[in-house]
């Protein structure tokens, strides 16, 4: 079925340039595009299904990375050991 891109309220099912769009979406998610980025994002999410899905996937990946890969327990003695070594070189 051909999807009419102009249909209001629905997103086009094909993205014209996923490679470029996805890289742009990633930069926006990384906070590198500032306020203009927010506008571009709003438009892409409203109009393009692949961009919409990619954005949510990227967002989910960032969330799990941040929540699940930053909890490496720091050895208790490390800070103390650094201070001792430092004391020796001072």
């Amino acid at each position: 079925m051909e999807m009419n891109e102009e249909t209001s309220g629905s997103r086009k099912l094909r993205c014209d340039d996923t490679s470029k769009c996805f890289e742009l979406l990633e930069s926006i998610l990384d906070g590198e595009m500032g306020d203009p980025g927010k506008e571009v994002l709003k438009e892409k999410l409203a109009k393009c299904q692949p961009c919409f899905e990619h954005f949510h996937l990227e967002q989910a990946i960032r969330e799990v990375l941040k929540n699940k890969c930053t909890k490496q327990a720091v050895p208790k003695e490390l800070a103390q050991s650094i201070r001792e070594k430092l004391h020796d070189v001072k």
Binding site: F22, E26, G31, E63, V64, C69, K71, Q72, P75, L86
Partner: protein, 197 residues
Amino acid sequence: MSEVQRRKYSQVEKNSIFDGEFMPHIDSMYNFAYRLTFDEDDAKDLVQDTYLKAYRFINSFEQGTNAKAWLFRILKNSFINEYRKKSKQPAKVDYQEVETYYNSDDVDFQGTTDLRAESVKDMLGDEISNALNSLAVDFRTVIILCDLEGFTYEEMAKILDIPIGTVRSRLHRARNLLKEKLKGYAQHMGYDTEEEE
């Protein structure tokens, strides 16, 4: 250390910078070191060496600038210069080779329907962690710096001594590779990754 020495700090100032601006980053530093070396003892040594170097070169640190980025840069350089050599990891990956290889279009992540946000959210910490750890160190590093530590592209460019454009493209490629790994896990776990029926 390539920075010019800007000024001399007094002993009191040095201690205050070290305790107030350097030590608070020890958790992030250890996490980074551990994800580079995959070994607790190596990570401890790497962090310790980094802090000792930071103290030794403290006069080249400008107060009020980003101490965390400064420390990460020292840690990254120490890792490349010392730890990579002796670690059990495969031989140093050639940057150029990696960039060229992954620059080809066919490795670009094909659409998003084959990996869903929902299946990523359901994954366990180990799976996410293993996927990240399985990436070549240069790709792993940009994801750690950006997604785990929240550095800006500009800060990453300084930490890694590469242009911002390279940060952006390497990050994009790293994320594509990570998604491929995650897709593998999702399929293995029987998540709905593709409409096969």
